[in-house]
């Protein structure tokens, strides 16, 4: 079962297309990493799923209900969208009580979520006096308030200290253990590698990868080539680009993120043009390198 499914979702803002025919899925009970460069359309997609903005085309289902009936599924969803929005003149606790009253959640829940995000000792202070990370914690507490089945978090680790990030990791795993689904947009790819079991990668409003994190990480390799001269460098770049993969240069070495097996094809094609002394090292890529490759590979 999928907690979220979208089909050809489109959203324009004036002439700009923020989400451009997005088809993706988020399996129930997963921690799904939602990644993509700035402006890829992640936040807009989350707003669409939350009924805050209307799609221009396409459809989606969330927790078994169509996007158009967002009143039906939103009571089971908790969300932090973009930077946390708080009333600076109210205490952290009152900020949560405002939302608890609106959603009809018991007051005791406010104390619980404050404990979860470790903000209890500052809960009586005005939210306007909070540090960046403390505001972020308050935002996460707001998302947790309804004890949601589906938790949508937009860059929740923004501004958190290392301890906070580790705490967040533990919290997300705990919630997944309780059977909840978490859709997590983040630029901290190293962090996502730790927790995500499903990945959706967005580029210019489209999905460039939607599948298990393990598959992406294991079916892909990174080739490292140290060319001996410019001729080799050009040759490798040409063959790789022709195959639709991107080449990045790091300290003189060429790095290519590609499906496993491309090293053989590259070597064969190089030999065909008479280059026999190419040394290709195959490495296990990080999510960050895959991200760069997928995103750059999309550009002609």
């Amino acid at each position: 079962m999928n907690a979220i499914e979208t089909h050809g979702l489109i959203k324009h803002f004036g002439k700009r297309t923020a989400v451009d025919g997005l088809t993706m899925s988020v399996p129930e009970g997963s921690i799904t990493g939602f990644i993509g460069p700035n402006g890829a359309g992640k936040t807009t997609t989350l707003r669409l799923l939350l009924g805050l903005v209307r799609p221009d085309a396409g459809s989606a289902t969330v927790l078994g209900h169509s996007l158009t009936e967002f009143e039906r599924y939103l009571p089971r969803v908790g969300a932090l969208v973009e930077a946390p929005a708080v009333y600076p003149g109210l205490s952290g606790r009152t900020n949560l009580e405002v939302l608890a009253r609106l959603g009809g959640h018991p007051r005791s829940r406010v104390g619980e979520v404050l404990e979860t995000v470790e903000l209890s000792d500052r809960a009586r202070d005005r939210a306007g006096t909070y540090s960046l990370g403390m505001k972020q914690r308050l935002g996460v507490a707001m998302a947790l308030l309804p004890d949601p089945e589906l938790l949508i978090l937009d860059e929740p680790a923004n501004g958190l200290d290392p301890l906070g990030i580790i705490g967040m990791r533990g919290m997300l795993r705990l919630l997944r253990g309780q059977g909840k689904t978490i859709l997590l947009s983040s630029h901290l790819l190293g962090e996502l590698e730790h927790v995500a079991d499903w990945l959706v990668m967005l580029h210019e409003g489209k999905s460039v990868y939607c599948g298990t994190a393990r598959e992406l990480l294991s079916q892909r390799v990174e080739l490292v080539i140290e060319p001996e001269d410019d001729l080799q460098r050009e040759l490798v770049t040409r063959i790789t680009n022709a195959a639709g993969h991107a080449v990045t240069t790091e300290e003189g070495a060429l790095r290519i993120a590609c499906p496993a097996g491309f090293d053989k094809a590259l070597d064969r094609q190089a030999r065909e043009t008479g280059v026999t002394n190419l040394t290709i090292r195959v490495e296990q890529p990080s999510l960050e390198q895959l991200f760069l490759a997928l995103v750059k590979g999309q550009r002609p």
């Binding site: 009924g51 969208v81 003149g89 009152t94 609106l102 959603g103 009809g104």
Partner: protein, 269 residues
Amino acid sequence: MTSVIRAFGSEVLKFRRWSVLAGTGAMVLVSTFIAYLTFHQIASGATGKEMTGLIEAFRTPQGLVAVIGQARSVIIAIALIMVAANLASEWTLGTLRNLLVLQPHRLRWLAGKMLALVLFVLLSMLLTLVVSGAFILILAPGQGIRTEAWTSADGLGIFVEFLGNEALCLVGISALGMLVAVLTRSVVTAVGVGLAYILVLEGIIAVVAPEVSQWFPGRVFNTIVGATVPMVGPTPLQGYPAALGAALLWIVGLVVVSAIVFPRQDVKA
């Protein structure tokens, strides 16, 4: 219905902010000060031409209302700012996205919030009139002014009638503030547009084409109060019943347009 009550309760919690309480404070202080100045001028025997009506009314049962009602335009302006800024701040702060995920029925949220806001504005107005009225009543004997006419059954009747019309006026102003906030979605723009409309635009039209402007919302909300006590504002050219009907129609219209626009808007805040 429960969700409207929840939205109301949630809104009440937000009154604990200085930015909200400052509106009430300003209303009470400025109105009392203006009432005091007016009272002082009359009590010390001022005789301006524009004051004659006021001086005549001063010793009648209308006297107290005529004095404390001098700050009416300030009350209207502050009420408009309070409603428009408060509602628009949900967009400016971005808090609207939190609220609408918890209460996706947007109109239920808006209804609960506006009920709380209107109640708050009316209580602020009541507090203002009570404070400035009490202040004048306390000052009067010291200046040798007799207050029996003001506190007579007649005087109290006029006060209550004034209060009723003033409440309706502020309900109308709140509806106007709501629509302006929903359309502008920003505190600064909402306050600017709201004040510019009511103070400048309607003012200009009132000078060039009074027979048209007498039907405009800001004008009818204002003149229904002037109908009770002519000293406190313009009187309705079209007569009280017609002005009252127009005021009620405007309130319905402003609410209906807000209720059509708001649920269809993209929340990009």
